[in-house]
Point group: D4
Chain length 211, copies 8
């Protein structure tokens, strides 16, 4: 556990047997082992074999926890979504952040087409340390959020949408072209990656203050 983060297995393209084997091996040295992108049918097979395994269906994550979570201090990772269809990606981020030992705060369904809802949470946002903004379709939420806060924003485009959303390319381009500053973007649907980046940002605090 060089990085102080859980071991994480990328599920797609692995058989249940392989996943079980890797997770149990890793669990010998690591207090938390996660597997991402696990469909319900696969999860059932894993749960049948590893009784202590917990499955988070929206996040599509399996967690095998055999020890204490690492302690990551006081920073909070806020996670926002534009729409409810973005939830699986947002929960992938949230669950990952939690099992990395970070405090999380969720705010769902604050897309820019109804800007008043977002504005009514201004206080909450201004207290955030790092904000993960998950949005599909036009993906405009990170721009508005980054313009309202001073902390780093991580944009996660999702493949939610149809037609010219091109599987998430539209929100990705929106985020990369944002006029607002302070936004870093990750791959389409990459909730996991956003959580780890958020974690690295918060841990920078510890490193700096320990000097």
């Amino acid at each position: 556990l060089r990085t102080g983060f859980p071991e994480v297995i990328w599920g797609p393209g692995k058989t249940p047997e392989q996943i079980i084997q890797i997770m149990t091996t890793m669990a010998r040295h690591s207090p938390v082992v996660m597997a991402t992108r696990i469909e319900p049918a696969i999860a059932e097979q894993l749960e049948a074999e590893i009784s202590s395994l917990i499955y988070y269906p929206t996040a599509r994550i399996c967690v095998l926890q055999t020890g204490e979570l690492p302690s990551q201090g006081t920073g909070v990772v806020s996670i926002l979504t534009a729409g409810t269809a973005d939830l699986p990606v947002a929960e992938e981020a949230a669950i990952t952040a939690q099992f990395c030992g970070f405090q999380t705060q969720r705010l769902w369904d604050v897309g820019v087409a109804g800007i008043h809802r977002l504005l009514s949470h201004r206080d909450l946002l201004s207290k955030a340390d790092v904000i993960i903004v998950v949005a599909g379709m036009e993906g405009a939420l990170p721009s508005v959020v980054a313009g309202m806060v001073d902390c780093p924003v991580i944009g996660v485009p999702t493949s939610v949408g149809y037609g010219t959303s091109f599987g998430g390319v539209a929100p990705l381009l929106t985020m990369l072209n944002s006029c607002a500053t302070g936004i870093g973007v990750v791959n389409i649907d990459n909730g996991f990656g956003a959580a780890i980046l958020a974690g690295q940002i918060i841990r920078t605090a510890r490193r700096i203050s320990s000097r």
Copy 2:
């Protein structure tokens, strides 16, 4: 003047001589003749030949007015830009709308990265009949505006930006994928087309009320 709109010439790829010839010919039957996308150097040559010609440099439009503007009634076309670099496209829309006989209202530089500026104009927006929203880079402004108003919004993506803006593709996709309803989109940089569509919308009022 079948449509009650001025005759409009598309400037690119025409020589000054050709433009002069077409404009003067059209001016015999049409009180207003416009030429769009005219660069300053060409405009100078046209002005030297046609003394009554007026050039709007930001809009890059030449107008030859020999009669009265058509009267289009009470509707107002509001034109918004996200940034100052979007001005040429916005002015192309505004000048076109004016010479079609419509009242216009301009609101510049209300991009979503500083959402408070837009919100401070809430009143103005709620009184609009049709709103043309001109935006490059991430092009998120039409989504926010359409969510705030009940009138039709015309999104005009611009080629302002660099890198992944891909000459206007990024804001185009943003507008097409908007979660807000009531948005019609035109070609990249097509301020002229937006103005004509806005005009058609306002004229629908006359047609309906004259029944």
Copy 3:
């Protein structure tokens, strides 16, 4: 019902339970609640739970009507298709417009490869207040229609086609590049959005003419 339009739920990615829950909750305050993009199998489950629910299979829309439709006055929304395969998108537009309280007029299968059919409906077109033109494959119909009428045209590209239609990109580009003026374009297959935009246009017209 701030906008005077029905509440509308986007179906994809929601479970039948979620849809039922949202629709019944909304129906307490809204005389009409719609859910779009509902596949037949899902619709059956919804109908089993909500007896008064009506399913429009071609439009793939479920409607829960508990009160009177809003009255939207005299304007007519005309809906045209290029081919029969465009029908689901066209019906999504038509049913949406109807439950928003607008009068609709349908004209199917008037694609440009047999221009005489379209021309034989010239009268009908000239009486329209706003025209929604639904077309896949080459998507040329909005151009021809917009050249024949003076009212606003809403172009809806569809994903009907194969090979280089690229899931609707070909007709989308055709519509955005139209030489005819007065066309606003919406996302591929977005019949719903076209109907709402058409509605906004007619309501703006009414608002103006009532001044």
Copy 4:
């Protein structure tokens, strides 16, 4: 002169010296030698060296004719454009067809946004043997024409347009996706290739009818 067509040199990327050398060499064996895509400045240099050379500025073609044109019989190649900006490509086709010995018929500016102009030429079209249709922007003209005639139609997309025309990709896709049958498409701006294909079609017809 295996094919009975003139020798043709592709101008771009060749120095005036190289073009002169190749043309004069070829002229020893071939009654007609052409060079395409020749800019005016280059053409002037060629004319200074080869006095009998003729330059067609709109078509950007230089012709060195030292003998009689091949005789190609009775078929007529009709060439149509949607707009005036498509002329250079159309003239490239027309001049090429003429120097291959074919009769040509030109019809400019009959784009689909003003369908009545095209319809008024119905007779002319119905007498054509092969029709080259040159169109940029939305490129919808070949679809309408092919629906009106029974002869083969060759679609030539042009790079005329801006924004989402993507240098001719939009009209190319329109033509490839045409619902009308009987259309073969060539590369963007490839007037030359369209003329040769038209010529092959007429010659095949002659070959068949002479059996």
Copy 5:
């Protein structure tokens, strides 16, 4: 039967009931009615209802012939494929051409990676009146064929391939960029369209010779 060609129905997106209804209606006035892109399971249902219907499984075409084929004279349509996987598209072209009344000649599996096979058929090619060349993957066959013959070549890119073939885009681009002249290109997998274009070319002969 204005064009002297069979009536043809595009199968995708139609129910068996709809196809049966349309085919039997059309068969009252047309000696040959075809339906393309019919999968085997659908074909079985059609055959159960219309006993005289014939299904061509490789071509995925159903034919309902109630009268004599139109007579189209002496021209021959040659059809070539690069590989065996291109057969369904090639047979779509061949069966269509046959039921339009044209003579056909098939030559399979003469791709450019084994150029000797193609060269051994030089004689056959030089006698062709119009050649349909069907090729996926790199799609280079039309270039080589067009360089060997003087008759028109119709390029049909197929979606055969993987990775960077991008569903047929790779062979499409190859054909559009061909250095050989005399090639017209149709949409990816459009065997039907190629056959009709070939037919129009051959019929041009009749029109010319009848003058």
Copy 6:
């Protein structure tokens, strides 16, 4: 100076007069005003008017400093480039970071094709608080760096390259698809945005550690 960062003007599309006017106005309230993407010829004009203006030619940034730099504490922003052609983008980041008050550390020319050079700087990297990695062509450097360190990495793809680099799309995709975790990506060539994001990260760290 809400954010504690300098005011920054985006130079492209502004006249020298406009830039001078905006900078001098802003300088009344802000100790540091910057203008980015300023070409040398423009910079000369600015320097002629504002004597205290300093131009950084590689970074293409003009700075007007009238007060003290904000103090940002101890965190260090490290900036790496893959090749020397990436320098302008890297310097845009470095100069921006410096005038925001951050300490910077530069490391040029450590691209992955000569991995030993990067490895020899392992110590330097492990001490970084946030690393900006600037890379064009294949853009693989952020992946390798992020695998070596525990701090956040900001990937800046550049338009350096040719052919299939597609103006920076190739390195952008590389960075978004990185198997290494902890990378946030900004727009192509957006050195400025990377610096501001790096600054936000360090300031969030400080904010957390000061609780």
Copy 7:
């Protein structure tokens, strides 16, 4: 067996019957016949008919060996993967190379996000004659490997990934834009083609030394 390589059938789009027929026919003249891209269900059917057939499930290859492998001398083909999900493509390469008679050496899971693992195999790499590097996602491994060795490197991008990997386009672009020299790239997932190219490279040795 002109090339001294086995006969190889491309499985997709062929029925089990066709594959059996082709393999048994070819086996009369060729000591080794292979079929690639064979799914397990199809393989089972083939094994039921041809008892001596061997199926390599990871490589998805069936081999029918009836004689001795060709002898290809001393060169070694090394095959590397970035991740475990790249295994099927890597095994397609490895099995193909082996049945062409080449010695192979496998090295799995040495992606650049954990560069130390690759570096620990420096010795092994420096002894390679030709290296096939299989990588999906960001596809950066060939760059690093080519920078470490003097022998030719064959880059095989895989479709492993999601979002902006675009089915393998991201690693393909990475490999084509590599700053390291000595890399030749093959189609996405084309392990077979990489093996044959590697074989041709090694056989060049024999040709040169036999002069």
Copy 8:
């Protein structure tokens, strides 16, 4: 000179002063120093400063040779072009190969549209050790060549073409999708990279045969 190849500088984006400085520094340790992509105007400036520098204008390469070329033994690098416009890229490959110490053989203008010319050089091809095939437009030449020979083929797509060649994407895709085996592809216009890969292939051959 670890690799036994000359030091090579990539010219674009470097000032003449920088190039001179780097070349003269490198020349102290390396018998041959090359700079690629040098435009004539720059070359003149370099020649004025370094008298012994030689400029190859078609290849756009400057060479500073201060010692003997490395000796690379017997293998021959053959370089083919499809058309004359591909010459600059082909010469970049040829000059690079020569100054790496390899024997080269040039064959220009053997594109597939006139296949007979290529076939007449069958003997020459069959004697090659490695063949670099340079082709723009449709880029089909490598496929045909690879089908005729047993040695490795390196495909170099060029940006020669217009319209749908998309700056070399069309020939790139053709080469990647080739049905012929034994082709490795490099970046568009990358003659230099092709030469180095060819060199690595020949050196690997020598290494193997010297065991």
